[in-house]
Amino acid sequence: MRKKNNTMLKWIINLGFVFISFVALFPVLGLIVSSFRPSSELIRNGMSLTFDISNMNLDNYTYIFTQAASYWEWYGNSLIISGLTIILSLLLSAMVGYALAVYDFKGKNVIFLLVLFIIMVPFEILMLPLYKLMISMQLIDTYLAVILPLIVAPVAVFFFRQYAVGLPKELMDAARIDGSTEYGIFFRIMMPLMMPSFAAMAILQGLLSWNNFLWPLLVLRSNEMFTLPVGLATLLTPYGNNYDVLIAGSVMTIIPIVLLFIFFQRYFVSGLTVGGVKG
């Protein structure tokens, strides 16, 4: 009797997980299916469980590939901004994290505490003065304005520091005896050893900048400078008839993230979980 109850319970739990997984996947599947439906229907009815399959077509995609030039400008901007953010922030954050891990110097602990403290300070609080600063530096509507605040990421510094603590320091002494400079040690010996942490942080920074919204919304003014989230958000108006670009375009914004996921799958979890600090 007891055993029978247990198997029943197991079935219920497993079915529960099937249901929860379905709920988690449904919106994404719904988006993909909707992208093949006439946009006029979506404006009128929203996403519906019942729809005419014979109505499905590639029109939204044809439109976006042939007519929606500004969508591709946004896509290009997003790619450039995310690419630059990943390269710069990884390099600079890794340098800082590395130094905090391997060197003993005065003020080291103060700097480390500052890093931890900044993780706790929401960017949005500093947003207005930073916006003012960007205006006075005449950086409004430039890539640089979007990238600057992300360039030294405290979360990444923290992560690199934790990783670099475990690096073999004997290698440093050996390299010094061989006449290597401190910078040579970092770039030629230690950085290659830190590659797994670079992969994880590439994912974190990539996701952050690809999905970044509020700050680009402030500093980007002209349509041809918009990033994807900012551009797509302009299509969210109830009066708009741009649902074709919005829906098919939304599907295609996920592609680079999925590629990132496939290439760096092993590092994805650690990259994403340290990123919990930023929504």
């Binding site: 319970l9 005896i177 040579g184 970092f186 797509l232 929504g279």
Partner: protein, 324 residues
């Protein structure tokens, strides 16, 4: 890279396998490079990006924010107005924003802690088959941006009675709901959007922590005759405490800074401010109305609230006791 290698070549005096310190003898290398390469200076060169960015992009704006909050900031005309901005904060719109944000924080913290713990414990047990598939599917939503996710939810929770949400509502036997126009459903939309995106990530946090609990603890509990629930409450939960504190802390901070989950449903103005958040109010006043002094004051107050709440939370959960 090339600079570093050049520096290396200069600092390398031919071949020196002897162990004696040979630095004194070679005077050839440039003094500046030698200075940069000293063990005292190099760490500072490495951390300089952080120091510069801290000074310019954190400290300066933080001080500016406080100064601005006491000013009336108009283009070309900045005047000190004392507590004026703070006095203006005592208005129903700000209270509404604060109320919305607080409710949102409480709900997201509860939903995004309790449910992921339960799901993670089940996923970690022997009961569930196909763990990898379940874990992966729960994780997919976190790959979407809030804008994309919001677009989807906006269509699913559309006003028409054939949109998914209202079809389900009708199936249960209720009248269709105008999701974006009721106070309670507005909050529901924001919380469900956030929960949908973050559930999988929090499950991963808890799963990672669960895997670090030694199996022997469960075995000895079993020997003592503990049942499933006793094991959960007396072994699992205490062991998960550090990660719970972590998840709650970041959920609180992320909740207070919420803006996008509201923006995707109503852009910048919702009927009766049912979707207005504190950061949304900062955006509305500071950017759209160009009243930066007032916007800064809202930000300063929010910062204080976050500090106080986080501090109380850490105190209550005893995070300070162990010295971390």
């Amino acid at each position: 890279m090339s600079e570093a290698s050049a520096a290396k070549n200069m600092a390398t005096p031919e071949v020196t396998p002897d162990k004696k310190p040979n630095r004194k003898s070679d005077k050839k290398p440039n003094k500046f490079i030698k200075f940069l390469n000293s063990k005292k200076v190099a760490p500072w060169v490495f951390v300089s990006p952080f120091i510069i960015s801290f000074l310019v992009l954190t400290l300066y704006p933080a001080i500016q924010a406080i100064i601005m909050s006491f000013q009336s900031v108009l283009p070309g005309q900045v005047t000190f107005i004392g507590w004026g901005n703070y006095e203006r904060l005592l208005n129903p719109t700000f209270f509404r924003a604060l109320q919305n944000t607080s409710v949102y924080v409480v709900l997201t913290v509860l939903v995004l802690t309790i449910i992921p713990i339960i799901l993670a414990v089940l996923l970690d047990s022997k009961v569930v088959k196909f763990k990898t598939i379940f874990r992966a599917s729960l994780f997919v939503p976190s790959l979407t941006s809030v804008i994309v996710a919001g677009t989807i939810f906006r269509m699913m929770f559309g006003e028409s009675d054939v949109a998914v949400a209202n079809q389900i509502v009708a199936f249960i036997g209720l009248d269709p709901i105008e999701w974006r126009y009721n106070s309670w459903s507005a909050m529901f939309l924001m919380v469900i959007l956030c929960s949908w995106r973050w559930m999988g990530v929090n499950i991963l946090y808890f799963l990672a922590a669960l895997q670090n609990i030694p199996r022997e603890l469960y075995e000895s509990a079993e020997i003592d005759g503990a049942n499933v629930f006793q094991k959960f409450f007396y072994v699992t939960l205490p062991r998960l405490k550090p990660i719970i504190i972590f998840v709650v802390t970041i959920s609180i901070i992320n909740g207070f800074r919420m803006f996008e989950e509201s923006f995707v449903f109503w852009e910048t103005s919702s009927p009766g401010n049912i979707g207005l958040t504190v950061i949304g109010y900062v955006y509305q006043q500071g950017i759209q109305q160009n009243d930066m002094g007032f916007g800064a004051a809202i930000g300063v107050v929010l910062m204080l609230i976050i500090f106080v709440v986080s501090f109380i939370q850490l105190l209550v959960t005893g995070a300070f006791k162990r010295g971390d």
